[in-house]
Structure formats: C-alpha cells, structure tokens
Symmetry: C2
Subunit: 152 residues, 2 copies
C-alpha cells in the first residue's frame, strides 16, 4: 500500500501536492495582476479559495517531504481521514470558486461581448483554467485518500 502512486509519503504524492500548490498560486497570480478584479465578488472569492488551497497543499507537501526524508509511513487511519476531509473541503471550495469565476468569464467574453475588446481577458481565462486544474489535482488526492481508507 505504501508504494501506491499518490499516497501520502510517496514521491508521486509529493508531486501531486506541489502541482496543487503551483496551479493555485499561478491562478492567484494571474487573477491578482488584472486591473479591476476587486470589483467582482467571484474573482475575490477565487483568490481567497486558491489561497486556502496553497496553504493546505503546501502543508501536506511539507509532510510528504518529511515522511520521504525520514522514510516514515504516514498511513494511519486518523491521519488519512484528516487528509480526506481536508481535501474534500478544499476541493469543494475550489470547484465553487472556479465555477463562479468561469460563469462570469463566459458571461463577459461570450454571452455579452468578445475577448478581444478587454485587455485583461486572457488573464481571467488563464486564472479560471488554472483553478480548474488545481481542483482536478485535489480531487485526485481526495479519491486516493478515499481509496486508502476503503482498502484500509
């Protein structure tokens, strides 16, 4: 079970956590460098949610790196349940943030106008795409935790 790809304390697990951090941080950067994201509640929520994702994934990446360096197995049911709940909550928040921002981006650049007329349009689109990629990687982690708990 220790070598199952993506489980806590493995190299693939660490890579997955770093990818979550990377996508979430890149999404924040892309959104925060637009000129007027503060005017839109959904875009502010995206930044807050991705910020929480960075904190959570970074803490778990650090734990994975520690377990790898010390060659410790961190598969006890209490820890895995904690990881599962954390992944599940952050995944829900990330999906809600990505979906609400996607709703507004599609509204602005497809329903009501074109992407060409707004200079910041590619940045909004990139931020939303990266948020969805972050959500996908958290969802994968969440499913792996679920699998470990069930296979137990």
């Amino acid at each position: 079970m220790k070598d199952f790809p993506g489980t806590p304390g493995t190299l693939t697990g660490l890579v997955l956590r770093l990818l979550q951090c990377l996508f979430a941080a890149a999404s924040i950067t892309s959104m925060a460098t637009t000129s007027n994201f503060v005017s839109y509640t959904a875009f502010c929520y995206l930044i807050a949610s991705m910020g929480l994702q960075v904190l959570w994934s970074f803490a778990l990446a650090w734990l994975d790196a520690y377990a790898l360096a010390k060659k410790k197995v961190i598969h006890n049911p209490v820890l895995v349940s904690l990881f599962l709940v954390g992944d599940w909550v952050t995944a829900l928040l990330s999906l809600a943030a990505a979906a609400s921002s996607a709703g507004i981006t599609i509204l602005f650049f497809r329903d009501l106008g074109s992407c060409k007329s707004v200079p910041d349009c590619p940045k909004y689109q990139l931020a939303v795409t990266l948020a969805f990629m972050s959500w996908v990687t958290v969802e994968v982690s969440s499913l792996i935790m679920f699998w470990i708990l069930v296979a137990g």
Copy 2:
C-alpha cells in the same frame, strides 16, 4: 445497517431522494419562468444540470419505493458503488451549476447594480438557492453511500 437513516430502501432514503427531485424541479421552474435566461450560458447550464438531477433522483426514489414496497434490501456493494458514483457526479455538476449561476446573480445584483431594478431578480436568486439546497441533499446522500461502503 438496513435501518440507518438515509440508506437506500429506507423511508428516510426515499424522502431524501424526493427532496432532491423537489428542489431541483423547483429550481428549474423558477429559472425557466424568467424572461431571458436563454441569453446566459450559466443559467442554461443550471437548468440542464438540475434536469439531470431530477432524472437521477427520481430513478433512485422509484427504486427506494420499490424496495420499501417489496421489503427488499438493496445494499449489495455493486449497487451502492453505482449509487455513490452517480451521486458524486451529479453533486459535482449541481455544485458547479449553482456556483456559476450564483456568481452571475451576485455580479448583477450586488457588484453592478441592485435587485430592485430588475423584475426577475427574486426568481434568479430563488433558482440559485434551490440549486444549492438540491446539492446539499445530494451531498448528504453521497456521504451516506460512502459511509455504507466503508462500513461495508
């Protein structure tokens, strides 16, 4: 395990499925009776997603009613896994639809203007609220299925 509240084939399980149907159908009705929901991709997606939710929940409500009437236990792992995957997928779609519509509703009626100036505003808000309530009930079903599978 058969009498655990909310499990398939119990009265609480049936009530939960009927609530999911009811909230999703009410959300569709509220959104579909607005004058120009067709102009917004997110609102159309809300209707599509809630439509799928109604179909899924109605099919499972029918199955629950059948199991109750015939006093059959429908707790075999294959069926529960199927229910779990179905609930999980429809819950994700419902959350994404509710969040994207909520993003646009907040944009229109808080970020860019007021609810008082648009006659259909309460209908949009009601549709989004009902979609979130439908998502909460599906999420509860999903957690119960997860619990049955883990407790096994």
